[in-house]
Amino acid sequence: MPKSHPYFRRQPGLLKLTSFTTTLVIRFKRYWLSLGYASLLICTAASAQAQTPPSLDAARITPIINFLLLEESTLGGTTEPEEASRFLIQSTFGPRYSDIVQLSNSSYERWLDSQFSLPITKTVDFTESQNWVSNYPLIISGAGNSALANVMLNAPDQLRQRMAYALSQIFVVSREVNNGMNERPLYYLDYYDLLLENAFGNYRDLLEKVTKNSVMGFYLTLNLNAPAGTQVGPPAHPGSFFVSSPDENYAREVLQLFSIGLVKLNLDGTPELDNGKTIPSYTQETVENFARVFTGWNYQSGDTPQTSGFFNLGIPSHTKPMISFDAFHDMGPKVLLNNTAIDANQTAEQDLADALDNIFNHPNVGPFIGKLLIQHFVTSNPSPDYVARVATVFNDNGSGIRGDLKAVISAILLDTEARNGHKTMPNQFGKFKEPFIRQLALWRGLEARRRTNNNNLFSAYDGIFFSRLKQFPLRAQSVFNFYQPDFSPAGPLSDANMLAPESQLIDTESVVSIATTHEEYLQRHHDNAGNSFASSSTNLLFNTQSFEALITDIQQPEELIERLNLIFLGGSMSDEMREILLEVHDPSLYLVEDKWRVVIDLANMIILSPQFMIQK
């Protein structure tokens, strides 16, 4: 096919340009704007390296951007739509077309500001609004799944939702445990809401709330932990026990997975080396000391006021934080990280506060948590400089505050590497999308909504969804999450010494199983304009009408392809890929009124493509 074919012409999608001159003006303005923007970023980067991180306070940036935007806003966009889409692919559960239009008329900073100020869409609120709850809180398992997916799908506060989702894969609790608790999804939703509430707060607060959380206490067995030599409960009473040594479960995982990791790190996330060897950041002895710190905690009783003791709780509450019982706290002195000692005879509360301060102030936290979040949002193999810039913001948000997650996520998304890595380091930048995020992006991109007259997002068909997709929130196999941050699959990635954590979920079997899940949703669950449904097997419907409007001639789906390209691939579709799509589109297969099927079939091909598995 010759290059002059119409589909090779760029389809801006957002702007109806009338003359060559207008194009030039817009091009020029954009160039000028991006220069201005780039210099802002350069300033940010440069001062970060000078160890004096600037405040990311949007108040300082917004006026400049507003000035730059002045005339542009009437022309329909200051941010390239492709770049807006790419930004939203990184920071949400997938863009809808309207999100792209909105951001292209705004700026990243203004978008972040508006996301930060949106009310929190909570999963428990959603659940309670659904009248599902006949035997609260023992609501059925499927309702818990529905609440999570529904909120993630529709919540306006998408960045907060993505942040909580990332945090749920760092501070992991899982319903994949084989005893009663997994059948009480409301408790897990309550934990998820805790992550939502603290997503833009301070890491230190989050760490404390997670530590005291009842579901975490259950999952990593911190509850009922007691000092060596303690009889817990009356001897011979069911469930009572004598402690030879405190439980080390939470002590170990809070250090290894939630805060500092196994080895000492430089600011840029690379391991500190001593004669070429890594240096452990703690020892078995450290774990034993922290295990003693975390003694004396158990669930609150469901009664108000508390009437029962450490062992005898009555009916425990799992939606209130755990509380301390000093009679069951190890009162001895302890030695924490960096040989910091804490005194004897402190209460459980004091010890816990001191220990979490000790963890929080360890120099590893910034690079460790910063790099994990970069990997979740932007790229699997960030340059050490990128990690250092983000860790610097973690260490000080510019106002002397350590652990400001709002500043951290802004630094991650606005960093020059996040914004330009796809151009400056195309073969190193990017990541595999998680299967669950691919599925959400498919739903959002094609305007999925719940069917009316039905109050549940999922149906019986969706029961197999999780097992085929290999991933669902709060269902990791263990506290080590669905995948490990240092996973590198055999083949081109490990040959290039590159990590691809999310690809641990993808093997020769699951790659087909996951794709089939996407496809079945697409093929079964569209709304073919007349509101008659191809299948009643789900309560989720796509709305293809706005896409159908792009097909003026069924022979020429170019405009439709560009729209799908913009939404699902951030406009990155290659000419070769476009050619393959145009070739497989066979107009003779469709009646004129079957435009919806053209949309579904072309979307299907893009959603299945390996190109859609990758985020750039």
């Binding site: 084989n178 932990n225 479960n249 196994l262 990635l493």
Partner: protein, 464 residues
């Protein structure tokens, strides 16, 4: 090392033509005769199995040490199931009351225990381990689930791991296979370190059955379907030829997955027996996935000839062994599931004369747990006892040296009963690899740390 076969080299257009898999082998190794079939089943007890509550010393002093160190967790002596290991005193050991099926197998000579196995670079004494200068090499990250899983499944020879190879992948790589399926089969466990290898593939068998894209189901002649199939293949090809390693990996993997999926649609349809009912007598506490996995392994072994398999390595997991809490209930239930389901599996295999001596099952687990309890659970430790099962096993024995159960005694390194292993993963695995058909001089390719063991130390002896 010879890498004979690389699925990735097959183009996206070789779909369904099994013939392409033939003739790629270039070196005749052990697996030559059609009757030469061996299958290794690795049962991973995920979470760190507390083997001290499975195999328990039944002599007075040792039992007392056990019972005193873990008061709420220890079984009553009268509830234990005594065993008399060959070459040891009568009733000197006992099994958990939940593991009567394993006692039966032990007494029938189809099961042995291997004592105090763990992640080690080479032999290490307590004195050397506690030496503050740490001159004697030892695994890093002791007590970490992921780090110790890596040692167990990869047998790293150095502290900073740079290889992503596991010994299952390396073991398969010692043999030629022209079969449709890779030699390594992961049962519902996806990627695992054991079966990772740069050129040796694994295939995950999902318990959901084989799931296929609508256009990739059997042979399709409909032109529209063929066109869509070709388009997806072209997209995969485009990605696989990209300079971007992410895209390249995605395209290669998807091509390979679609090829295998099509090929297996025919092969797996030759499974005629549903063996899951053989496991139904067992009480299942673990949600049924473990017994379903073992049933699927047995089904696949029974159709080995249709699949053209000569050597197979299955990886299946029973999860939930991280019993920091509620140990008595949870570990007891897991023990019973493990025991009953392994016995059911072994019964299916051993009643088939051709298979009886061709299938070996071994347990792995990232670490054992400490002898002292934390109250209602136990914490991460190091060395542990393991089970080896099947016709090839010299059964009814305990191999190695059972650790002293004295707290702060000869084997405990910090007073809470964390045992320093006296047998290494490399010795344990090399004994298996030798049975599988690897010559002694090649064993170190599969188990690098075996270089630190000489002579009779290179074979624990549990194969008859």
């Amino acid at each position: 090392m010879t890498d004979r076969r690389n699925f990735l080299k097959l183009s996206a257009f070789s779909i369904g033509s099994l013939g392409l898999f033939d003739g790629l082998g270039n070196q005749a190794l052990a697996a030559t005769s059609p009757d030469d079939y061996k299958s290794l089943v690795v049962v991973n007890l995920n979470g760190g199995n507390d083997s001290l509550n499975m195999l328990i010393p039944n002599t007075d002093t040792e039992y007392q040490q056990y019972a005193t160190a873990r008061p709420q967790i220890a079984f009553n002596k009268s509830d234990l199931l005594p065993i008399s290991p060959i070459e040891m005193s009568a009733n000197s050991f006992a099994l958990s009351p939940r593991m009567s099926a394993m006692r039966e197998l032990f007494n029938d000579g189809d099961l042995s225990f291997v004592a105090n196995v763990g992640s080690l670079i080479g032999p290490i004494t307590k004195e050397a381990f506690l030496d503050p200068l740490r001159t004697q090499p030892r695994p890093s990250g002791l007590g970490g689930h992921n780090t110790q899983t890596a040692y167990w499944q990869a047998d790293h020879s150095n502290q900073i791991d740079t290889t992503k190879d596991g010994w299952g992948g390396r073991l398969a790589n010692e043999f030629i296979s022209n079969a449709v399926l890779p030699s390594n089969i992961s049962i519902n466990s996806g990627h695992n370190i054991l079966q990772s290898h740069a050129s040796e593939r694994f295939y995950n068998v999902s318990l959901n059955g084989l799931i296929s894209l609508r256009d990739f189901r059997n042979d399709q002649t409909n032109p529209a379907i063929r066109a869509r199939r070709n388009a997806l293949n072209s997209l995969n090809n485009l990605a696989a030829n990209s300079a971007d390693p992410f895209l390249k990996h995605a395209g290669q993997l998807f091509s390979e997955g679609l090829n295998l999926n099509l090929a297996l649609q025919n092969s797996l349809s030759s499974i005629t027996q549903d063996l899951s009912s053989r496991f139904s007598d067992s009480v299942s506490f673990s949600g049924g996935a473990f017994s379903a996995g073992l049933a699927r392994i047995a089904e696949l072994i029974l159709i080995r000839q249709q699949l053209g398999m000569r050597r197979q390595i299955f990886f299946v997991q029973l999860a939930g062994f991280d019993t920091h809490s509620k140990h008595a209930e949870n570990h007891g239930n897991l023990s019973e599931d493990l025991s009953n389901h392994l016995k059911a599996f072994n019964d299916i295999i051993t009643e088939n004369d051709q298979l009886r001596n061709s299938v070996l099952t071994v347990t792995t687990s990232e670490f054992g747990r400490n002898l002292a309890s934390n109250g209602d659970g136990t914490d991460h430790a190091w060395g542990a006892q393991h089970m080896v099962m099947g016709g090839p096993v010299d059964g009814g024995k305990i191999f190695g040296t059972f650790p002293s159960l004295e707290l702060d005694g000869a084997d405990d390194y910090n007073g809470l009963g964390r045992m320093i292993p006296t047998l290494s993963v490399s010795q344990y695995g090399a004994t298996v690899a030798k049975w599988f058909g690897v010559e002694d001089e090649n064993l170190e390719r599969v188990f690098p740390n075996l270089q630190n063991y000489q002579g009779s130390d290179r074979d624990i002896g549990f194969i008859s």
